[in-house]
Amino acid sequence: MATRKEQGAMAPMTMIQALRSAMDIMLGRDDDLVIFGQDVGYFGGVFRCTEGLQAKHGRHRVFDTPISEGGIVGAAVGMCAYGLRPVVEIQFADYFYPATDQIVSEAARLRYRTAGEFIAPLTIRMPCGGGIYGGQTHSQSPEALFIHVSGLRTVMPSNPYDAKGLLIASIENDDPVIFLEPKRLYNGPFDGHHDQPVVPWSKHPLGKVPTGYYTVPLESASVFRPGSDLTVLTYGTMVYVSEVAARESGVDAEIIDLRSLWPLDIDTILASVKKTGRCVILHEATLTGGFGGELTALVQEHCFYHLEAPIERIAGWDTPYPHAHEWAYFPSPARVARAFRKVMDE
């Protein structure tokens, strides 16, 4: 994907720094790249992901926008029609709703309805997920709503290395990409033990990131933890929650970090479930109608006769994200460990 030379030296980065580095590099490589969104220009984003980029690349390449998510995506689609490649930020995933029409009816459909005459190679970045006491409107994980829309790609990294590599791959990809950033992972690999000190990325192997250009291909999952007892299909923050649950439950879980949620890497999934015969699906988004349903359907369709136990879904409860009860809502290591044991006991 990239030569050793392009990749450059390794450096410790948080996920924020890794994302910034991806955008910085791509601004340098592609004159048609523009970056915009609320507070992303002068200020550098409320999560600081674009800090310094305007100063370095100029106000025509990196700029602030009015508070209109529909306008941000709509203008980006128009820029795509011109030939630019916009990377836009929705300040919180909870605020993408005003852009739904432009995302679903426009960005996702443009290539199809014009038989390729116009395309929409934009990347829409959105911090998602809870665990920061953000309440109902700073905590949502809306990936399922995008996955149901044909024409979109949905991606969610779980660590700085993937974040940078996947963001570069998303930017280079000619399809519209919804790039969801689990904000609870911005500064460290959070495993759900909210009462324990935060581990920074600098202490984690995946916090070492090439300073130059490289990609992590879309539609490729990673086997985050090999195991033989059961397969865990998950992504984002829940990767670390399932890792600690495996440790604490003693269940030898094979944890698959999907990374690209849709289109996804079906082969890695099926190979693992066929090996283990058991499957747990884990996401922070609300259960009903969530991506877990689709994953369950795919696994039972393709691995039916390998299954020794019902596929178990662990997810956020079917309520809005409750501010004070965040830790009862967030799928905890204990809840996940219980699910592992249940699936093993069947």
């Binding site: 039916f304 006769y305 390998h306 299954l307 020794e308 136990a309």
Partner: protein, 56 residues
């Protein structure tokens, strides 16, 4: 049969995981004829094993 084994309800279909079903099919075992020792009379891999050792 042992008293611990729950009987399948009259006329009910055999209960088994898909993996057990596949193995039974591969072994040529008719699940209808197997007593299940699992919860609610569910047929387990052990039941298939028992069935096999009875046959051989």
């Amino acid at each position: 049969a042992g008293g611990a084994v729950a009987a399948r309800p009259e006329g009910g279909r055999p209960l088994a995981s898909p993996a057990v079903r596949r193995r039974a099919w591969e072994l040529g075992i008719d699940l209808q004829a197997v007593r299940g020792s699992g919860p609610a009379g569910r047929i387990t891999h052990a039941d298939l094993d028992a069935c096999l050792s009875r046959e051989t």
